[in-house]
Symmetry: C2
Subunit: 580 residues, 2 copies
Amino acid sequence: MTRHQEKLTRFCAAFIDELALSGLKHIVISPGSRSTPLTMLFDNCPDIKVWMNVDERSAGFFALGIAKACMEPVAILCTSGTAAANYYPAIVEAKLAGVPLVVLTADRPHHLRDVGAPQAIDQIKLYGDQVKWFKEMPPQSDEKHTLQFVRKMARRAYSVSAASPKGPVHLNFPFEEPLIPSPDMDNLWTKGHSGSFYYENELGSIPEHQLFPLLHDIQSINKGLIVVGPVTNEEAIPYINAFAKQCGFPIIADPLSGMRSGDHDKTQIIDMYDAIFREPSIPDLLASDGVIRFGAMPVSKSFSTYLTKVEPKTYLIVDEKGSWRDPTHLSTQMIGMSPISFCQLLTSTLQMTKNDRWLSQWININRDIQKRVKDYSEEELWFEGQAFVEVLNEAKPEATLFVGNSMPVRDLDTFFISQEKKIHPMANRGANGIDGVISTALGAAAVRPSVILVIGDLSFYHDMNGLLMSKCYDIDITIVVVNNNGGGIFSFLPQAKESDRFEALFATSTDLEIEYAARMYKGKYSNPTTWQAFRKELQLANDEPGLKVIEIQTNRQENTSIHRKLWDDIQDIVKARLIP
Amino acid sequence: MTRHQEKLTRFCAAFIDELALSGLKHIVISPGSRSTPLTMLFDNCPDIKVWMNVDERSAGFFALGIAKACMEPVAILCTSGTAAANYYPAIVEAKLAGVPLVVLTADRPHHLRDVGAPQAIDQIKLYGDQVKWFKEMPPQSDEKHTLQFVRKMARRAYSVSAASPKGPVHLNFPFEEPLIPSPDMDNLWTKGHSGSFYYENELGSIPEHQLFPLLHDIQSINKGLIVVGPVTNEEAIPYINAFAKQCGFPIIADPLSGMRSGDHDKTQIIDMYDAIFREPSIPDLLASDGVIRFGAMPVSKSFSTYLTKVEPKTYLIVDEKGSWRDPTHLSTQMIGMSPISFCQLLTSTLQMTKNDRWLSQWININRDIQKRVKDYSEEELWFEGQAFVEVLNEAKPEATLFVGNSMPVRDLDTFFISQEKKIHPMANRGANGIDGVISTALGAAAVRPSVILVIGDLSFYHDMNGLLMSKCYDIDITIVVVNNNGGGIFSFLPQAKESDRFEALFATSTDLEIEYAARMYKGKYSNPTTWQAFRKELQLANDEPGLKVIEIQTNRQENTSIHRKLWDDIQDIVKARLIP
C-alpha cells in the first residue's frame, strides 16, 4: 500500500464513517471513475446501504424517493462532468419540497480544472442557490486536523440537510489519481454510539432521547470549564451564571461576554485566563475533560491553543442556530439554541458531583494574577494597556465601551478585571475587521448614552470619514485614539524581526496628525501625556456633548516590551501556584 | 383581442422576429404551459423551424447536435420548474465544447416566485457560470422602448452565443396569465434583409459579405455625425479624424475623447454640442440620418435626448468587444472592434457624396457658441465653470486633467474649447461613481507628470483617505476642490424645488473645512477668492512638488443661475442661426 492510498483511504473513510455515525443509511451511487475512492469505501462501510443507478437524473430522483419516505437525509454520489449536472432536476425538487439530500460529486484536482482536461467542468457552486450549503473539500490527506475537519463536514452536511427547512447540500471532492483506496485498512469504521452531534430547535426544547445522553455527558465531566465568548444578548448572563453554579465549573469570560461587570455573582468568573493559558505547561497542569462554550470563540488565542492541546473529551457548543463556529474541529456536540433556553432546560435537572479543588485552583490563580495586574497598573507606566484601566475606572455606570480590533480588544482582555460597575463591551467580532469601527461605534452612540471608543490609529484612519455622522447628527462620543503610528499588533508577530522591510510592509506608519481630523469634524481634541491628564480629559468628556477625541501617543517597541514583562511575571505566578 | 393579448403578442413576436433576422433557423421546444406565448409564436414565425421534444434533457442535447452540425446558434425553449434544470447537462457540454445555444425558459411573474406557487423554482442565474450571459427579461409590454429593448436582447443573445468562444446564453421570461397570444396580428414578421447587427473580429477585419452592406449603409448617410465618446486609447485620434474627413461629417467630441486638444486638425470638431442640443428644436432643425459612434456614450445628456428624438436611420457603434453600450436601444449595427482597425479598413474604400452645407452649419454654430463662452469667461464671474477655463489655460502642455463625476465632468464638457495645447482628460466613467476619485487620480499621477484633479467637495470628502498615498509616496498632484458644500448637481434636478427637505436629503452639506485635510496629509493649501489669485496658485502648483490643494468656494444657487443664463444665451444664438 502506497502513502497516497493510505491518505486517500483515511480521508474518504473518515467522511463516510462520520456520515454513518450521523445517521445516514442510504446512498445512491452512479458508476464513474473519479468517484472510485468514495464508491469503494461506501460499499465497504457496514452501516450504509448502497444502491447503484446508472442514470444520474434517475438516481437523484430515486434518492429523493427514499428520503421522502423516511424523512432522513439520503446521499447521492457521482463522478465529475455532466454526470453532476444530471442531478439538477432532483436537487431543485428537493430544495422546494424540503427533502434532505447530501449530494457528493467527485472532481478533478485543481491543476486539471479549466485547462481542457477531459470530463472536467466547473463544479464550484454548480447548483447555485438550489442547495442550502456548498463545500469545496480539500485534497485528500490523513493529517489529524484534516481528518477532524472532514468528519465535521460530514456531520455538518447531514445536519444542515436535516435541519428545518430540510433540503439538499452539496460537497465537491477533488481526487488525485491513482483512485483505488484500500478498504482493508484497520480501524476505518467506528462501532456503536457517537452521540447526536447537532440539535437545532427553535422552541427551546431538546427531545427526550437526546436530552438523556446530553445530561449524561455533562454529568460525567470532572474538570469542567464554562466558556462564554462574545454574546449578543446580555440577558443570558444570569442564566449562564446559574448553570455554571449548578455545574461548579469556573467561567472563562471573554471581555465581550458582558460577564466581567455588573452586580451578578462573579465568584466563578475567571477573567485573567488569557495570561494563564500563555504558560505552556497549563494544558498538563490544568487539563479540562469537559468544556461547555456559549457564543462565539473567545478573542484569546492562548485559549484556542490550550483547547487544541487538551482535546477535552466533551466539548459542547451552545451557539446561534446554523453558525457552526468551531475552528478547532474538536466539538463533540453543537447545539443551535439560545443560551437562555439551554440553561433553563438543564440547570434544574443536572445532578453534578462537584470538584471543589478544581474550581478553587482556578479562583486562586486568577486572584493572584488580578493582584499582579492591579499592582502593575498602579505603577502608571506609559503603555497601551493602562489606557483600558483608566477608561474602565472613569467610565460612567452603564457606559458602552466599544473597542477596536487588533490590539484594543486584546488589551481589554488582559486589563478588564471583573467589577461591580456595569460596562457594556462592544466590538465588531464577526470578521474582526479594522474597517468601519468609528461608524459602528457612532451607530451605537446614536441610540445609547455614554459611548467610549478605544481604537488604534490605523483603524481610526481607515474610518476617519465616519466622523461626519457625529458632526451632522450631534452624536455624543468619546474616542480614545491609541496612536502608536501604525499596526501595533504586528510588533507581537514573527515578522517584526524581519526588520528592514517590516516598517514598510506591516507597520505602515501613517504619521497622521489626529488633531486635524478632530478639528475637521468640530470635535474637541486633547493629547494628554500623563495618566493624570488623561483621567481629567475622560472626566471632562463624560460631561461634554459632541465628539471628543483624546489621543494617546505610545511607542510600539516600548509597549511590546512592557506587555512581555507583565506576561513573564504572570507566568511566574502561575508556576509558583501549580508546580509544587 | 384583449390589451393583455396584444402586449403579450407584440412582446414575444418582437423577440422571435429579431432572432430570425439575426439568423436563427432552429428551435427545439419542450411542451409546457407557461411557455405557451413563445411556443405559439415560434410556430407561427415563417423563418424558424420548430422541433418538439418532450424530454428537456434530450431536447437540450438534440439542439446541441444541430448547433454542432451547422455551427450556428440554435434555441431551446421550455416551461418553468424542473424542466429548466433538465437542460443543465447539455448546457454544461455546450459551454465546454463551445457550441452556441440560446436557452429560453418561461417563468412565473415576480409576485408568484418564492411564495409556494406551483412549478415556480428560482430561475435567476439558474445555470450559474455555465452560461456566457444571463438576462432576466421584463414583464410583457408593447411600449416602444420595451420592444426596442426586446429586439436588442434577441440580437445580443444570438451574437453573444455565436461570438468566440461560442457557447450557451440564457434568457428567462416571466409571463402573466392568460398565456394565449394572437398569432394573427398584423406586422409581426419582418421580411427580408436587416443587416448583420454585430461583428466581432480580433484580427481587425470584416468579412467581405458584411463589408459591402456596411459601406453601403455609411455611403447612404446624407447628414451624418461622428460621435467620439470617452475612449481608452488616444492613439485612435488621427484615424478617427481621417475617417471623419473622408465622410465629411462633423465630429461630436466628448470632453474625455481626447479630441479637443492637440495639434491634429480640428476643423470638424464640434465641442459645444451639449449647449446646442439643449435647444429643443434641434432634433427638427438639425436631424441626422446617420450616426457613427466610437467608444462609450458621451457624457452629455442632451445628446442622448437628441438621439432618442431623431432616431437616425443608421446608428453604428464601434466599441470595445462585448461591451454592448447602447442605452437608447437605437443602434442598427454594433461592431466590436478597435476604432483604429475600423477606420483603417474603411477610410480608403469609402466613396462619399459630401453634404457641405450640413457640415458648415455645424461649424458655424459651434464657432458662435465658442465665442459666447469665451466672452462669458472673460467676465471672470465667480462660478464653477470658470475654474475649468482657468485650469485649461494654466495647465502645462501634456498635463493630465482628471475630473470628478457629477458636476466637474459636465462643466468640462461646456467649457473645454478645442485647443492646440495637448491636455489628457481622464475620469472614472465606467460606473460614474463619486467614490475613489482621489485615489484613481493619484494612481495616474504615480506614473504621469503634471496631474491636475478638479473635484467637488462631496467626492473629495468621500475619498479623503486616499490622500495618504500622496504623502507616503511623495506623489505630485494639484487638487482643485470646487466646494459648494454638498451635491451641486442636485441643484439642477427637479428635486431642488422640494425645498424643505432638499438640503437634508440631497444636497447633504458637510460643512467640512478642506484645509484640515490638506494639512493632515502635509499638503500645501490655498483658498483663493479671485480668479487672479487662483491663476497664481495654479502657476505655483505647476512648479511645486507634492500635494497642492486649492479650494474654490462657490454658492450652489448662484452657480446654477449663472449656468442657466449662459445656456439661455446659447439657445438664442442657436435659434438666430437656424431659424430664418
